[in-house]
Structures are given as structure tokens and as C-alpha cells.
């Protein structure tokens, strides 16, 4: 037992357990069928506190009613079998200037009358998806613009210019593919992919800038198949 200033004593194994739950980066909430919160860890509070209208996290249903009504409906209606309840739900939990917080919720009925809710912060993953979507739009724009220019040049009988535009269009596609392969870990030196090698060796002046690619270190793991 460890003496705690103030006279109370604590049990080290219980402190270990508390610290384990405190440090867990995934939010976990245990509530009853009526949404009364029985246990909650700090990660869950970190994500949910900014979404509260009042300083009250004693019940979970009002939060769900506002942010994820579909899950609330599935929780409170119909039969109540054990196991996951209606899969995962993603939503914007809070928005405050630059501080948007996107979360994913999974509710599991672990016993009759006992619901465990797992809460994940998917903000970074969401940002990555948006970044990749923007890159796809840029790629589409580059390809279409060059093909239209090639078509115009062909119409004017300028085959060399048309060829150059078609080549730039292909370069844009290769550059994008190269970035995707790098993100997947296949983009290092010596990778045996002809397309990527062609992109690396290619030195055309119309080549798109690679500086906008995301930092690998901050990339979320997609191995769980999410989004």
C-alpha cells in the first residue's frame, strides 16, 4: 500500500489499473440502457467535453440525440441483443474555428443493461482523406487541362505541342501514382515498379510539384479498413 498525502492509502495495483485507463488513447464509456454514465475514461471526456451544452456528462443519451441520433435510435428501440449495435458511426463532435473534432463511435452491449461505447478521434484520418481528395481534384484538373490543350494543338496541326501536352498529362498521373506508392511504403529507391521508375527518371519541365505531399509520420494506420 502507498501512503497518499492526506492520510488515505491506495493499492498500487489499483493505481496501475487507473493509470492504464487514464492513459488509454481511446475513449471508453460504460453506461446503462438509459444512458446513465457509470464509468468514463479521460480520452472520452477529452473528446466529449467540448461537445457538451451543459457541464453534465452523467447521461449519454442527450449527447447522442444531438450528435448521433441514429445510434440513439438503435440503442433504445427494438430488441436488445448482446454485441455491437449498428456498426460504427462517424460525426463531427465539435467545431470551433480550427478545432474541428471528428469522432467514431462504436456501441457494444456487453451485458443486458450494460453498454460500452468506444470513441476514436478520427480527425487526422479525416484530414488525410480530404487532402487526398484535393490531390485527386488537382490531378483531374491537370490531366483534363493538358488533354484539352493537346486537342486544340492537334486541331491547329501542331503535333509536337499536342505530344508535349499528352506527355504532361501522363506525367501528372505518374506523379500521383508515385506519391500513392510512397505512402504505401513502396516508393523507396529501388522499388521494382516500372511506372514509378519512369516517373523518377523522367525530367520533363511540366512535371507537377511534389512538395505538397503529406508527412508520412502523421499518417493514420488504415490497416483496420476504416474509411
Amino acid at each position: 500500500m502507498t501512503a497518499v498525502p492526506g492520510g488515505r492509502t491506495t493499492d498500487p495495483p489499483l493505481e496501475d489499473l487507473l493509470q492504464f485507463l487514464y492513459l488509454m488513447p481511446v475513449g471508453v464509456v460504460q453506461c446503462d440502457e438509459h444512458g446513465h454514465v457509470e464509468l468514463i475514461n479521460p480520452a472520452a471526456a477529452r473528446m466529449l467535453a467540448p461537445a457538451l451544452k451543459t457541464n453534465d456528462l452523467s447521461t449519454f443519451h442527450p449527447i447522442l440525440a444531438r450528435l448521433c441520433p441514429d445510434l440513439l435510435h438503435d440503442l433504445t428501440t427494438g430488441e436488445r441483443p448482446l454485441g455491437p449495435i449498428s456498426g460504427t458511426h462517424r460525426f463531427l463532435a465539435t467545431t470551433s474555428g480550427e478545432h474541428d473534432l471528428h469522432v467514431e463511435l462504436l456501441a457494444v452491449r456487453v451485458q443486458q443493461g450494460r453498454i460500452m461505447v468506444v470513441i476514436l478521434d478520427v480527425t487526422l484520418e479525416r484530414q488525410l482523406v480530404e487532402h487526398e481528395r484535393a490531390q485527386m481534384i488537382d490531378l483531374n484538373h491537370a490531366v483534363v487541362q493538358n488533354l484539352v490543350a493537346a486537342e486544340t494543338a492537334l486541331g491547329l496541326g501542331d503535333v509536337d505541342t499536342a505530344r508535349r501536352h499528352v506527355s504532361r498529362s501522363a506525367d501528372a498521373g505518374r506523379a500521383w501514382l508515385g506519391r500513392q506508392l510512397e505512402l504505401l511504403g513502396g516508393g523507396g529507391p529501388g522499388r521494382p515498379l516500372d511506372l514509378v521508375r519512369a516517373e523518377r527518371d523522367d525530367d520533363h519541365s511540366g512535371r507537377p510539384d511534389h512538395s505538397g505531399r503529406p508527412d508520412h509520420s502523421g499518417r493514420p494506420d488504415h490497416s483496420n479498413g476504416a474509411e
Binding site: 502507498t2 501512503a3 497518499v4 498525502p5 492526506g6 488515505r8 491506495t10 489499483l14 493505481e15 487507473l18 493509470q19 485507463l21 487514464y22 492513459l23 454514465v37 457509470e38 464509468l39 468514463i40 475514461n41 479521460p42 480520452a43 472520452a44 471526456a45 477529452r46 473528446m47 466529449l48 467535453a49 467540448p50 457538451l52 457541464n55 453534465d56 456528462l57 452523467s58 470551433s96 478545432h99 473534432l101
Partner: protein, 105 residues
């Protein structure tokens, strides 16, 4: 303020330095959280001690505002129970220690 004086206070005190490392932790907060001071001192407040405050409502305030004296209602998870608290965030530009003061709401 001495450690004894800090422990005599009827509200929680968490003091942390400019690197967010906890340097003061009084008995009131220790008892309510169920975690001894030895386990808290030297730890990062926003990552290891009070991770529930690692968001724009609290942690970001200390980052953005070198001079800060603000009170807000918040939810702690003392012993894994949702616990409404009244927080006072105190920081002074150039001071070595910043404080989070905690009272039951």
C-alpha cells in the same frame, strides 16, 4: 507556498512548468483522483496526468495565452466517474509554473 501549505488547501492544485511537466500536486487533488503525488510529479500534465484536458478548451488556452486567469466548468474523470468541476487556469508571462486549480462544481 510550501508543500504543507499546498496540501492544506481545500481545492485541487496542479502546478506545471513551461514544458507541461507537473511540479506541484497537492493532497486534495491526489485524494480525489486516487493517484499519489509520486506518480504524478515529473509527468506531462496533458498527456499523463489530466489527459481529459488535452483539448482546445484547456490545453490550448495555456498554449495560446501566456497571461491567463480564466474559470470554466469542466468534466473530470476522477476514478473513472464523470465529475463536474470548476477549473481555474492561471498563467503569468515569464513565470516558471502555471496552475490548474480544481474545485467540485
Amino acid at each position: 507556498m510550501s508543500a504543507e501549505e499546498l496540501d492544506a488547501l481545500a481545492f485541487g492544485v496542479i502546478g506545471f512548468d513551461v514544458d507541461d511537466v507537473v511540479v506541484r500536486y497537492n493532497a486534495y487533488e491526489s485524494e480525489r483522483a486516487g493517484i499519489s503525488a509520486e506518480r504524478v510529479l515529473g509527468r506531462d500534465i496533458f498527456v499523463e496526468v489530466a489527459p481529459c484536458t488535452n483539448n482546445f478548451l484547456v490545453a490550448q488556452r495555456f498554449l495560446d495565452e501566456p497571461d491567463l486567469d480564466e474559470q470554466l466548468d469542466y468534466i473530470f474523470t476522477l476514478r473513472m466517474r464523470p465529475t463536474p468541476v470548476r477549473l481555474r487556469l492561471v498563467a503569468r508571462s515569464g513565470a516558471a509554473v502555471r496552475f490548474m486549480l480544481v474545485r467540485p462544481a
